[in-house]
Symmetry: C2
Subunit: 137 residues, 2 copies
């Protein structure tokens, strides 16, 4: 399935609906199409929203690197855009994606692999990919 792209007029309408925070960022939840798996939450700035909608490749703003982050550029584990939605008060995005490979830089399929088991914080998902061999991103 080809990734979804949006015309500039639609991008402008989405931007107008988003309430960016005081740092110019909005949280974006990436969810796998079909399975509904929540892959990750990261942040988008205005430019990341525009790039994501214009190109169909999901982009974020890396707060740790303070840089634009086109997911998968290093690892090849890209996210193709299926649909971008915004919530009722405009302060959170839901990004429906088609994830290539794994979402997490630890090699797990999603970021949320820490849960309580037998009273201990435990890794509950397997490492699927040795990310050291392909480069993190």
């Amino acid at each position: 399935m080809p990734s979804t792209t949006y015309p500039q007029a639609a991008i402008d309408k989405m931007l107008a609906a988003i309430q960016f925070d005081t740092q110019g960022l909005v949280p974006a939840i990436a969810q796998q199409r079909g399975s509904g798996e929540v892959l990750m939450m990261a942040w988008m700035d205005r430019n990341a929203v525009v790039e994501t909608m214009r190109t169909g490749r999901v982009c974020y703003w890396s707060r740790s690197r303070q840089a634009a982050w086109r997911k998968g550029d290093t690892s090849g584990h890209i996210q193709e855009l299926v649909e971008l939605r915004v919530d009722c008060d405009g302060d959170t995005l839901l990004v429906e994606v088609e994830q290539a490979g794994v979402a997490c830089h630890t090699g797990r399929h999603n970021y949320f692999f820490l849960g309580i088991r037998d009273g201990e914080l435990t890794e509950i998902a397997p490492i699927e990919v040795d990310m050291a061999s392909i480069g993190k991103d």
Copy 2:
């Protein structure tokens, strides 16, 4: 199915893994068990994490009201805790829940009901409940 509660020792381990932001908050994504529907994203402070894990009723911190927010106290649309997970760098929570009624104060089942259709920002989910009749929360 009864909601999940955690003993104090497990709560302490979860708290130690969470990186609260400079305002003492962490984003929490609520996902419906089974369907995988992403219902909402809201914020938890330390006390909301404790209350959620101790009681099995999902609680947040309302930034707009600057008050503790036990989801559903007004509307009856409570969230029962199934599992609380934290992501790899500790700065986002995934809360698997059993949602009673609807999650959104607009009466829609989830918050993310605005998407682009025919180039326009469009409400893509129906209003299921007249919230005016039961009280928002």
